[in-house]
């Protein structure tokens, strides 16, 4: 019943002991983690100190260095989920299904971060926390679609049931996102002039602002990868525990059955036994 995750370890062993993995860390994740931490320090330096405030948006533009990469990687995670679901449905590969699940969860987190940072940016810039423009609305819809996927994936049911149903939802995730984005975009632009403030950094960004944004992309990307690896391994271990739990329960039942064979207690049914 165990599944090999060798290909997921990228060549390095997960932290192990004689009883099995004790953590989801490994050399790969430690390197990634340290790089991410250094990157965040660099991002803070560039984003908060070195790069200038924007002419229109003031200091609020600094939120963009985290907001834009978060959005990008939320959609990346979304795409990974659909890809993983497709491969799972095609080849029944648990590895890909777990990638889909882990990726969806990370994408949900990043979508939430995108929305919150967007709202924090919006308050000083537009004066309100929320406007129903195309991009914000689409991102909110993305969050809802992802939550639907997670709800199905976390059903109290057997793995094969959960995985197959979640995979169908996951497979339709990217098409749904595309259709929703398109219709929301159409809706918000057909009868209106384009919004006065673009949702990004304005028409031309250059110099240290561009550098900060680039660092933001790199750092958030590293964070995404780090979280994904850990979440994937955690999901794998969860499935192993679930399988193991069943084996342990069956063994205990059998032991009880043997122990009671010599007493006058009512006979305990063990799987595989014919009813007396």
């Amino acid at each position: 019943m165990t599944t090999e995750i060798a290909s997921g370890n990228q060549g390095s062993q997960a932290g192990t002991s004689d009883d099995g993995p004790t953590s989801t860390g490994s050399r790969t994740t430690r390197v990634l983690g340290i790089l991410t931490l250094i990157g965040f320090g660099l991002l803070a330096l560039y984003g908060l100190v070195i790069s200038p405030a924007d002419a229109n948006q003031g200091d609020a533009v600094r939120i963009m260095y985290v907001h834009v990469p978060s959005a990008t990687f939320a959609y990346t995670g979304c795409f990974l989920t659909t890809l993983g679901s497709a491969v799972y449905l095609w080849k029944k590969s648990q590895w890909w299904e777990l990638v889909a699940y882990a990726s969806a969860e990370i994408a949900t987190l990043f979508t939430a971060v995108t929305l919150v940072t967007g709202m924090l940016w919006g308050r000083p810039t537009w004066g309100v926390f929320w406007i129903w423009d195309a991009r914000l609305t689409s991102t909110a819809m993305l969050l809802l679609l992802l939550l639907g996927y997670l709800a199905v994936r976390r059903l109290p049911a057997e793995y094969s049931v959960r995985a197959k149903r979640a995979a169908i939802i996951g497979l339709l995730l990217v098409p749904n996102v595309i259709i929703v984005r398109q219709s929301v975009q159409w809706w918000r632009t057909l009868h209106q002039k384009p919004t006065l403030f673009s949702n990004g950094l304005g028409s031309a960004i250059s110099g240290t602002m561009l550098t900060s944004l680039f660092i933001g992309f790199v750092v958030v990307g590293l964070l995404f990868a780090w979280l994904l690896i850990h979440r994937f391994r955690l999901a794998w271990l969860e499935e192993q525990v679930a399988d193991q739990g069943l084996d342990v329960a069956i063994a205990e039942r059998r032991a009880e059955g043997v122990a009671e064979a010599g007493t006058s207690l009512p006979h305990t049914f063990t799987p595989g036994e014919a009813t007396p």
Binding site: L145, V152, L155, S160, I169, W186
Partner: protein
């Protein structure tokens, strides 16, 4: 496949004709939603008239959820699900049959709701071709997506809460499109509504294809 679809659709519609659940419960619920909107939006302020298309389609969506839940709960009782699986019917045919049955019920509901808004919200109906086309493609989309997501939620204890969560974000484009198309029809500018009908047509086609392909594997172990 078509023969199986008609068989299943006939079965579902006959069930409905005999039990009259959609007529006695779903339709009154839809009208109730219209009335609740009047309570919420205060008829004197002219909001109801302005928001009629949106309110109409929200009422349709909520009632559609009930109709879809019903479509699958009839399969859950008395081991019908197993009977359906063992019947040898083509799963794609079963899917199309269920879509057809739900569509028929929804179409009846929507026509009656149109009467409802005409009376309750004093809507002056016009642009009939656009209205009719919108109703048809939107219903197809709701039924197609709803039946596919319905089978994902079928057979689970949590299905009543899961189906709305799954389906409503997916149907957001249908809500947007049908509302805009209705607005265009009622405002007398139908040319603005036809692109939305096109979008919803694409949506419906996409989901019918997805349903035909995906229904079989999902039916196997629901």
């Amino acid at each position: 496949m078509i023969r199986d679809a008609l068989l299943v659709a006939g079965k579902d519609l006959r069930l409905e004709a005999r039990s009259r659940v959609a007529l006695n419960q779903v339709l009154p619920f839809a009208l109730l939603v219209l009335v609740l909107f009047a309570f919420a939006l205060d008829p004197d302020r002219g909001l109801l008239e302005k928001a009629t298309p949106g309110l109409y389609w929200v009422a349709v969506l909520f009632s559609g959820l009930l109709a879809l839940q019903r479509s699958f709960s009839v399969e859950a009782a008395d081991g019908n699900g197993d009977a359906l699986r063992l019947s040898g019917l083509d799963p794609a045919g079963i899917y199309l049959g269920k879509v057809l049955a739900v569509s028929v019920q929804l179409l009846v509901l929507e026509v009656l709701l149109l009467v409802g808004v005409a009376v309750l919200y004093s809507t002056h109906l016009g642009g009939w071709l656009l209205l009719a086309s919108t109703v048809v493609v939107a219903t197809a989309g709701i039924a197609a997506a709803g039946t596919l997501y319905g089978v994902v939620a079928a057979g689970l204890r949590v299905r009543e809460t899961l189906l709305p969560l799954l389906l409503l974000p997916v149907l957001a484009p249908v809500l947007i499109g049908s509302t805009r198309a209705f607005e265009a029809a009622l405002a007398g500018t139908p040319s603005e509504g036809w692109p939305w009908v096109g979008l919803m047509g694409v949506f419906a086609v996409l989901y019918v294809v997805a349903g035909v392909l995906g229904f079989g594997p999902l039916l196997e172990e629901s």
